[in-house]
Structures are given as C-alpha cells and as structure tokens.
Symmetry: D2
Subunit: 139 residues, 4 copies
C-alpha cells in the first residue's frame, strides 16, 4: 500500500473526476486505512415517488463507498466485482452517509461492508441499508 | 393482480414521479406480466473517472427495473428488500437497458433477475451486469 | 476451453473426490457448455426442524452447481468467489435439482445463475430457491 | 422478545431437531441478544477435493448462524429470506466458527452479518468468508 493510496486529497480528486458523483453531490469525508465514508445531501432530486431517497441513490453510495474503502488497501487501480444491498428503512433526512470498512483483503481482492445512515438536521442517525461488496485489483 | 398494475401508462407515471429517475433520464420501455425494461441514455453526466457508466448508475437501473418487474405481479404497493449486482464488463455506449424478469412470486414477495446491457449506437448489445433482487409487498 | 473441461465423466470424478458431496449424495446430471445440473435425494438427514430440506442444503447445491457450470467455460481450476441465494418456498419432495447456467463469462471470471427445484415422486417440480454466483479462475 | 427466545438451551434444542445440523456436527456456542455463534469440527467428511472445507459447509454455517442470530431478536418463528456469502480464503483447521450479529431489526425482518473463521488446533483464527442475510418473521 503506497502513501498515495491513503491520501484523502487524491481520493477526493478521483471522486471529483466521476461526473456521476458530482451530479449527485457526493463528498468523501473519511479515507483512512480500511475505511471510507461518503456523504451526500438528500435534496429533492434524489427522491423516489414517496419523498424518500431512491434506493438507487443508496445503491450508488454503497457501491462507491465500498470501492473507496477497498482502494485504501488495494491501491487506486480497482474494479468493483459486485455488491449486495439490503434496504432496512426508508431514507429521509438531511444527509446520507455511507460508511464502508474492509472486512477482508488479500492480494487479489477485498471484501467490504457498508452501513448507510440517514442523518437528520439535528444529527440523529438512522441505519437505512446494509451492504457488502467485493472489489478486485484491476489488470 | 389488477389491470392497473399492468398498465404501462400508469407505471410510466410512477417513474415520472421519481425525481431521481427523471434526473437520470430513465424511461420505462416494457411493463408486461413478469417483465419490465428500463432504459437510459449514457450521457457524460453518468460516467465514472474512466469514461464508463458509473457502477451506481447500473445499480440504480437494476434496482428500479427489478422493482417495476415485481410490480407487474405484486401490484404497485411494493418495497424492494434488497439486491445483488455483479458487474461483468465496463458499460459504454449510447444506452443502458435493464431488463428484469420475475423468477418467482408469491403472496408476500417476488424474486426478480435483471440483465443490464450497454447498447451501442448501431444497436449492438453487450451484457455488462447481472442482478437479482427481492421485492416485498408493502404493509 | 479444453475438451476435458466439458467431459461429464471427468466432472463426476471431481464430484466423487468431494467428501462433502458424497456425504450428501450429490449427483452431477448435466455438464455441458454453459450449464450444469446437480441433484440429490432429499432424505431425512438433510432436513431442518420442520421436515423441509435445510436451507444449508440448498445453499450447498447452488454453490456447487454454480461452480460446475462455471467450470464448463473456465476449465477445472476455479475458485467460487461468492454466491447469493434467495429462498422462495420450503423444499420438500423426493429430489432437489440445482440447475446452473452461465450468464456471463470472461477471461478471469464467470457469473452464473441457478434455479433450485424440489421434485416430487411424480415428477412435479417446484422452484424453491434462486441463486447467483461468481466464479474466478484460480491462480 | 420473550425470554424463551434468548434461551441457549431452547435454541440448542432447535438445532438438535435439525437432522442436517446433527449430520454436520454443528454446535450452538453463543445465543445472546443480537448474536449467535455456530461451530463445527472440520472433519474429513466436510471437505472438497483439495482438502479444504467445502464452500457448501461454509454456506450452511453462515445460513444457520444468521437465522439463529435473527431469532434472538425476532423470536423462534422465522424464515430466512436469503443470504450472500463471499469466500475469502480456503478454510482449513480444526473447527469452523460462524459468528453472526444483527445489523438491523424491525417488526418484520432482521438483517444479520456473519464472519466465518477457520480455527486451528492452537486456537489461531483465520477469516475465511463474510456473509450477510435477511430473516423474515414467519406468517
């Protein structure tokens, strides 16, 4: 693992180079060995028909947080192989936080878990989805 | 299953009521018993840092196509319980198509599968992800 | 893909070399390009507390059928990376059949789907679980 | 949640009523609020062709540990809806331990995570699989 792999500034630059993440307003809040936290404001554009965050927004956040968490141990050249997400509560509030941690890593892949929280304006956090994903080294 | 559950126009209205789907430009192309196809143009806003569609876009499309496919057998009041997606090839091309079919349905839930294709300007289709999800009746 | 990779006799020998598969009485019924079918008799030893086949039996059958299906395209040196199974109905009957097909394959991995059927003495088949898994080339 | 739902003796009786768990020699070592640990000896009967524990054994252990962990919060009448398992290292050693914890629980379902460890004769533990599953209340 190189120093650059664990550089928050560099990781934020990768995120800024993802037009879809920019469209959704995603921010990388934590990028440290074995852990990454991605956050985005739950503005009206991200909702489904009942006023909650769309499941696809949560799936995006889980996918990306898992990929960045894996990047902290595998380096920047990674491909996400797949992901499982279980939705447990409707997501509503000011912010969505996706906190991913590396459960296992090897030479060729890392498996990460992710908790997704809806955060209210007063800071109260509600777990709204739980995910697990596999990230492979590229090439 | 009511007639309205299988009405393409009604289903398109649900999609139009999802601000996130509108933001991504999703279209419902098929909505028939046991099957739904969702499509969206792969414009630059939906890319990651290497010019491919972001994995989160594929996850959104799988999640939503699976939910609509389940809706064709469970009716409109459904909650997606969870989803698994395996990414198999980078998605690039003009359009993304997510084709979901009901593999099993009961009183309380449906399990659906989804194939995600990148479609080139000349119509060539490349499978880029494979998904499976569970949808529950609400309430 | 070598001819041997598609040899039913050779694949049956691999299965016979798996003590756990022998313990469960698994049989390989089909092993052809892109498809494998594994079957086992649902005798009393394989039940849970309510007289149905234990979920772990279905998970075993899905895992192994998926691995063999991938072996038809990737060759014999494979590692199963992971699997998702959705249980849809209690499995009861004379036989369990796990039918796996390759949904996508590349140089490095294959993604397979699997349908699990409980087969009654009169031949009636009931879908009881639906699975998806990823198999990697070893080494 | 009733007292009986959290009774280790009662939970062990359920396990003893599962012929498949008896066949595999599974033991329930922990059954406390939000957590269950299932263990089994990795004897030769449980191996695949390379001398490691068969992936199906790990899938069984994950499935059952997840179901018992959910039972600590949902009560005994539960159905496992589905499970995802990622295999990260070959499992070899004296014992397999599946430690499941409840990540989220509600009225209708619980989502649990499970770590699977191979435990050597000297007590060294190696993480060999990571799982996540959803358990529904029956009826």
């Amino acid at each position: 693992m190189t120093a650059s792999a664990l550089d928050l500034g560099l990781a934020r630059k990768v995120l800024a180079d993802q037009p879809f993440s920019v469209l959704l307003g995603a921010r990388l809040e934590v990028f440290e060995p074995g852990r990454a936290v991605l956050a985005l404001d739950l503005d009206g554009r991200l909702q489904q028909q009942n006023g909650f965050a769309h499941g696809g927004v949560l799936a995006y956040a889980a996918d990306n947080a898992i990929t960045f968490a894996a990047g902290t141990v595998l380096g920047p050249a990674v491909l996400t192989g797949g992901m499982t997400i279980s939705y447990v509560r409707p997501a509503t509030g000011a912010t969505l936080e996706a906190e991913a941690t590396v459960a296992s890593s090897g030479r060729r892949q890392a498996v990460c878990r992710c908790d997704l929280y809806a955060v209210a304006a007063d800071g109260a956090r509600t777990l709204c989805a739980v995910a697990q994903g596999t990230v492979l080294t590229a090439g």
